[in-house]
């Protein structure tokens, strides 16, 4: 009952301007959306139904796709390269808008939103960069994600430590705690070293923290020494025993499972892990803290932004209706709804301090500053090729088959081939 009243008040606050006259005039339009099974289709259904309740002319059917971002991209690549009109709108991983803009697969939303700069200023800062490509607004933020430093609150308290501010601090703390615990299965730090998308973020964290960029204004600005140092930092965790040698095979799920089983002191992981750490099959319920990611010495703390964006298919036969719906879904009340009902991170900074949200998800208070410091991965239509280069060379260093310096040089040569 309480939930119901929240929803009605929240939704009543929506400007009715989202509903275009054409949408009202049309007979019931069926809009088909592509989302992942992981993205809580049942909660999304509520959001769609709220929209239909306000706009009886629009009905939404869900096509639930595979759970990994790569598999979803493959599906969308196939459907959209065939210019299939069956999908009207979709949820895109934050790394995709540039590719979708270049391929003309997503309808530019500029004219639909009016003042783009003013609108994007309302969201977390990283999304303005991620969703706009050469002045074109490709998609609108749906919900956020970022990498966090998870830590064992109980163990840090036991050794009277506070969450580390730098990677050097983290190394010292990890050595101290693992030496004191004398548990051979306790890892100091777990991160993603397997050649997966998450490894791109892992690599970029210290590289960004040292103040460097990969691409600036569409041009490659790859700093080879800094990349070598970033790679050496991660490799150092393996050689000094803070991370296990198997980290070169660790995927996001491995990090999550190991931490959840109580085998990890510090973990670099995405937001979805939090709910699982507090869940039924967790050995660490109530023992988990979340902090900003450590910085390199002399650098700043940064995180890698993830998250999902609503875009409208260029091949849809119902573009105006789909655009209106996407505007609705990327609005503040829906972001709040998703935060409360599905614990999805909000795309609006003020929701992180909203009492209704904090009542359900107290840890959002700690997540807010991390999201504010999060940066977006390079915005380029050739992102998949860029990602492949970074994650394979990163993985080679973690496995110990390449030195950090050699891998950094190799990355540069390969990135030049792709980005010119």
């Amino acid at each position: 009952m309480l939930r119901r009243s929240f929803m009605t008040t929240a939704l009543a606050a929506l400007p009715t301007a989202f509903v275009t006259r054409r949408a009202q005039a049309a007979a019931a339009t069926e809009l088909k959306v592509f989302i992942s099974k992981q993205e809580r289709p049942s909660v999304m259904r509520q959001a769609f139904d709220e929209y239909s309740a306000r706009n009886p002319a629009a009905k939404v059917t869900i096509e639930a796709g595979p759970t990994t971002s790569e598999a979803q991209a493959q599906y969308l690549n196939t459907v959209l390269s065939a210019r299939d009109s069956s999908l009207d709108f979709f949820l895109l991983d934050v790394i995709r808008p540039a590719q979708f803009a270049a391929a003309h697969w997503a309808v530019p939303l500029n004219s639909a939103v009016g003042d783009v700069a003013a609108l994007m200023k309302q969201y977390l800062p990283a999304y303005a960069a991620a969703d706009q490509v050469n002045g074109e607004l490709v998609a609108l933020p749906g919900f956020a994600d970022a990498m966090f430093l998870y830590y064992r609150k109980d163990l840090l308290e036991k050794y009277q430590l506070t969450p580390p501010k730098t990677w050097t601090d983290l190394t010292e703390q990890a050595k101290k705690v693992t030496a004191g615990e004398k548990d051979p299965s306790l890892q100091g730090l777990s991160f993603q070293g397997a050649p997966i998308e998450g490894a791109v973020c892992t690599f970029l964290l210290p590289y960004w923290s040292a103040g460097h960029d990969l691409i600036t204004n569409g041009k490659l600005t790859f700093n080879v020494p800094a990349a070598g140092q970033a790679l050496a930092l991660w490799r150092g965790f393996i050689t000094n025993g803070v991370s296990p040698r198997t980290i070169a095979q660790a995927t996001t799920e491995d990090t999550r499972q190991d931490f959840q089983a109580g085998k990890v002191l510090f973990a670099v992981c995405w937001s979805y892990a939090w709910a699982l750490f507090q869940g039924k099959n967790s050995a660490v319920v109530g023992k988990v803290g979340v902090a900003k990611l450590p910085a390199v010495t002399g650098g700043t703390s940064v995180s890698c932004i993830g998250g999902w964006q609503w875009g409208v298919s260029a091949f849809s036969h119902h573009k105006p209706q789909a655009i209106a719906l996407v505007r609705f879904l990327s609005s503040l009340p829906i972001s709040k709804l998703l935060a409360i009902k599905a614990s999805l991170l909000p795309v609006f900074p003020q929701i992180y301090t909203d009492p209704d949200v904090l009542k359900v998800n107290p840890w959002f208070a700690a997540a807010g500053p991390v999201l504010a410091s999060a940066r977006s991965r390079p915005v380029t239509p050739r992102y998949n090729a860029v990602s492949e280069i970074i994650r394979t060379d990163f993985n080679a260093v973690m496995a110990g088959t390449m030195t950090g310096k050699a891998a950094a040089r190799n990355m540069e040569v390969r990135l030049r081939r792709v980005l010119g």
Partner: protein, 293 residues
């Protein structure tokens, strides 16, 4: 005309009966191949948003200086050179074993069929678990017998080793089936005659079995070589090409170029090169067989 259709000569009837098969093959083989060749001569890249332009052999020339292409070519060559003879030897051994006089033949045949019937991707996933550095059964056995354990997929050599072993296990079954059929076609009298002439088992194997098995070996070799050149599933599921991209094969590079990078022109060119290599290998083998016959 009507009379010819009503009472077709053998020739016309032949054409009529074959035409559905030709149409089908044309649709699923000839047309895609021609389209692929055409595509490989364009710069079509879906991530550019531009329509593909005809660029001639630019994609092929580009492969020459592409380090990933060279590396994946080398990886493919290594896997072929190791797993084709390896699979042949293991398969021959299995076939000889299965050809022995068992009272019940079906358990042996079933055991022989198992690896062949297993989907490639499953095989890769299963062996990836066997060789897992933390939970794998291989390390567990090594630990129990007091040998040092290793993190297999952290090393280029041991990654190749694990992948090759998996491919040999998987492919030996197919080889064995082909060779078993060949073995059973060899008349028993030949062995009896050889035995009367005083030939021992080894001599019988060399003088009777091997020469008569040659056609079957050639068939198995052709199929194995072509599938080895196209190796995809097992390294894809076991190492994803890692560590780094050391175990990425040519077929995986085709997949990466087209499905991940959306560079359809370049991907088509690599696919054509891969097909050409397979074609050349088949022709070489066919000539060998004909020369031997």
């Amino acid at each position: 005309m009507r009379r010819r259709l009503a009472d077709p000569s053998d020739r016309v009837l032949g054409v009529l009966l074959l035409s559905p098969a030709f149409l089908l093959l044309g649709g699923i083989v000839v047309y895609p191949v021609i389209r692929l060749i055409g595509l490989s001569l364009t710069d079509l890249d879906l991530s550019s948003g531009l329509p593909g332009r005809f660029v001639g052999i630019v994609n092929y020339v580009g492969l020459w200086s592409d380090p990933t292409f060279r590396q994946t070519l080398l990886t493919t060559a290594i896997l072929t050179v190791v797993t084709v003879p390896g699979g042949m030897l293991a398969g021959l051994g299995l076939a000889l074993l299965a050809n022995l006089a068992y009272r019940r033949k079906w358990p042996v045949r079933l055991a022989l069929l198992m690896p062949w019937a297993m989907p490639l991707a499953f095989t890769g996933l299963i062996f990836a678990w066997f060789f897992n550095g933390e939970y794998g059964v291989v390390n567990d056995i090594l630990r129990r017998i007091g040998l040092p354990q290793r993190i297999w997929f952290n090393s280029i050599f041991w990654s190749f080793f694990a992948i090759s072993l998996t491919i040999i296990w998987k492919s030996s079954s197919f080889v064995a089936l082909v060779l078993l059929a060949g073995l059973q076609a060899i008349p028993k009298e030949l062995y009896e005659a050889a035995a009367i002439d005083g030939a021992g088992r080894w001599r019988q194997f060399r003088a009777v079995t091997l020469p008569l098995l040659r056609p079957a070996i050639a068939v198995a070799l052709i199929f194995r070589t072509i599938t080895a050149l196209q190796t995809f599933d097992i390294p894809f599921t076991m190492t994803k090409g890692g560590p780094g991209s050391a175990t990425e094969t040519l077929a995986m590079y085709v997949y990466q170029s087209t499905v991940d990078d959306l560079a359809l022109g370049r991907g088509a060119a690599i696919a054509i090169v891969l097909a050409l290599i397979s074609l050349v290998m088949s022709v070489v083998y066919m000539r060998q067989i004909r020369a031997a016959a």
